[in-house]
Every structure is written in C-alpha cells, then in structure tokens.
Point group: C2
Chain length 193, copies 2
DNA sequence: CGAGGCCTTGACCGCGGTCAATGCCCGTGG
DNA sequence: CCACGGGCATTGACCGCGGTCAAGGCCTCG
C-alpha cells in the first residue's frame, strides 16, 4: 500500500531506508468511496492525506448553494485543510472524494510529533508547503490577469488532467465560474476550429 | 536595527538569546526609497526580506501595462519571490517599495545554509510558509466567492491597513479590478450613507 | 510653471451570472 | 426489464457588473 509514498520520499529527499520506513509507518491506509465526505464544514480537521489513487477536492459552498473549489489533488498529491489542522479549529470548507480513492492518512497527533522530532518529516513538510505555495501563486495570478476563457485554456495546456477527470460542474467550480459559462466557452472553441 | 526581527523570533519560538543573535546575524540592513525596484522581472531573486518599516509589493504587469499585485507586506512582514529564490530561476514579477522602507535582507546563500543547518531557521521558514498559505488561501477564496465590491468591503474590515496605506491604483491592482471601478465602488458607498 | 501621474466621472459595451426549459445518462425500485 | 427521478450538460433570453476609452481636475515634483 505504501510504495508510492516511499517512492515519493526517495525521489525528493536523501534518507536511509530505515528513516523512510519509520516515516511511512505514521500513515494509515484509508479508502474513500466516490463522493464520500472526508471533512465536514465546521468539523476540526484531524488528518493529512497522501493520495495513492483517485481524486479529492477541498471546497466551500456559498449562500446560493454554489460550490467553489479551492484545491484538487490527484495521485501522489496531498490534501488537508492545513489551517484547521495546525490550529485545531473548525474548518470552513469540505473535503470530499471526487472518485473512489485510496489514501494514506496521518493523524494530527502523529503529524505534530513527527514534525517536532523527525528532520525528514520537517523537510517533507517544507517541500509540501513550498509546492502548495507555487500552486496558490499561479492560481492567484490567473484570477488577477485572465478572464474565464483564458483560465480554461490555461488549464487545458497546464493541468490537462483536471479538464479530463473533473466533471464540468467541478471544473467550473474550480475556475470560479458557473457550469453554464463553462459550457458556452467549450462550445465556442468547437465552432472556432 | 534588528530589534523587531529579534522580537518577532522571541514571540513565535522558544530559543536561547545566543540562537537568536546568530539567526539575526544572517540579515543585513537595507534601505529602499519610495518606488525603488528591488527585484526586476526576469532577474533571479537573491534576497528574502523582513520589513522593519515601510511597505513593499510584489506584482506583475500584463500586456496592456496594467499592474496586478500578488502580495503586499508591511512592518513585521516578509517578502520575496520564493519560487525564484529557492530554484534560482528568473522571476516573473517585480518587487518594489511602495513607501520609503527599512528592511533586513538575507542572501540566498545564507538562506540555504541556515535552512540546512539551523533548526530555528527551519522552524521560522515553516512558520512563514504557513502564514503565507493562510494568506493565499483567503485570497483565493475571495476571488472565488466575492464580487469586486464585496472584496473591497472585506479588505475594509479585515485589512484596513491596505486600504489606508495603498493608493487607489495599488489597491485596485490588488483587488484585480481597474482604478476606475474602485473609484466608483467608493463613490457608491458614500451615496448609500 | 509645465509635465506627468493619480483620481473621478461619463458613455458605451461585452463577459459572465441568472433563470428557465430541455435532453441525456444513470442508478434505483416496482 | 422498464419506468421514474435526480443530477449533469446544453442552450436561449435577459441584464448588470466591471472593463475600456476619453475628458477634466488636482497634486507633486522637477
């Protein structure tokens, strides 16, 4: 079950097999069915997840019931609500499986322990935060400088997986537009060919 | 010069005065005049800055010459282009002083050294990345769920400093709208009273 | 004193949201 | 096995937010 996480560590850090084995031992396998809610709005986040297989989203719901998606993770990615996790305060968003997924979960207690005692875990956490930083960075950039059509085209060239594996509704929720608008954007592209 | 950074460390971490003195010794005082460019688009970022006094922005310029502001830092804040810094690749944005500012700068070389050798620095970096994460998080949220007027009002209640210290042009660039729209939003609010 | 940048205001218009109708696919139960 | 219901996708009509372009006033700085 833990091979892909082990490989991820080997690829990104220099560490002994013993350290890797200990690192991985903090993570417990979990399965999530399609559409399963893994963290409720208002609930305190207790886990940090590595994704072996599948797809998971973090999102919130506005006054009109519209879903806005903050983050989507696929194979070899991570997901959690860091804010809720590190401060142990209620989350203001949901986490939910988009596809049936296999995950590795580390609990808050183990996370905190490993972070204070294990240098490999600290380095891992830094790497993860940096990757998230870059991701958030381009996300903010696309909102600042691109319109809806350009954002969609950007995803087509830079995050094709998202376009292919997310439903139109989810993709629209990620782009910050409505399902109807995304549908029109796609339709226009076909005409242009 | 370094008192505020020392205090920042004391407030956020448990560490000896000796450790703090060493930590702070990596940072060199720098002054920036109003509007001074501290990092050019295309240049490799060489410093990570702590702000003693003043205000600094990170921004990019689109095809039409419009400025979009990704991040603004005030006293006791940090600024850099982490992406460019950690990978030592050309930056795709500018960093520029909004007000005449006093800064503490740590070079990439010292940054890398301290990060690999000093646990206090590692903890400091994690804290900084986490704070940035939260900041980016709410930023993405406001783009996903709020219109321009609501984003402005959100800033009024949650980041009053930005509204007070930034020019309308800069504030508009941060909100992702034009100067003209911001002007109208403000005008409407007055009428409403 | 002149030049340039910032702010405001007006006129215009297009992108994208809203509401509604329709069709399609798929899971569930009679 | 088919009928039904619910969710997703598409399309049309309409309209308001916010961008664009332009003009004018004001302040700052050289």
């Amino acid at each position: 079950m833990t091979e892909s996480l082990e490989q991820f560590i080997r690829d990104n850090f220099t560490s002994t097999e013993k350290e890797i084995a200990e690192f991985v031992s903090y993570f417990k396998p979990v399965k999530a069915t399609k559409d399963e809610v893994m963290l409720e709005n208002g609930e305190v986040c207790r886990y940090f997840y590595f994704i072996i297989k599948g797809c998971v989203k973090a999102y919130f719901i506005d006054a009109k019931g519209q879903e806005s998606i903050r983050y989507v993770a696929f194979e070899n990615g991570f997901i959690s609500n860091i804010h809720s996790l590190i401060k142990q305060i209620p989350s203001s968003e949901f986490i939910r499986a988009v596809e049936a997924s296999e995950l590795l979960a580390i609990s808050y207690t183990d996370f905190k322990f490993a972070l204070s005692k294990r240098n490999l875990f600290k380095d891992f956490y830094i790497k993860m935060l940096e990757a998230t930083y870059l991701n958030n960075h381009w996300r903010i950039e696309t909102f600042l400088r691109l319109d809806a059509k350009q954002r969609y085209e950007y995803m087509l060239t830079n995050s094709k997986q998202m376009v292919q594996r997310l439903s139109n509704k989810n993709l629209a929720g990620f782009l910050g537009i409505t399902q109807e608008s995304l549908s029109r954007i796609k339709a226009k592209k076909v005409v242009k060919k």
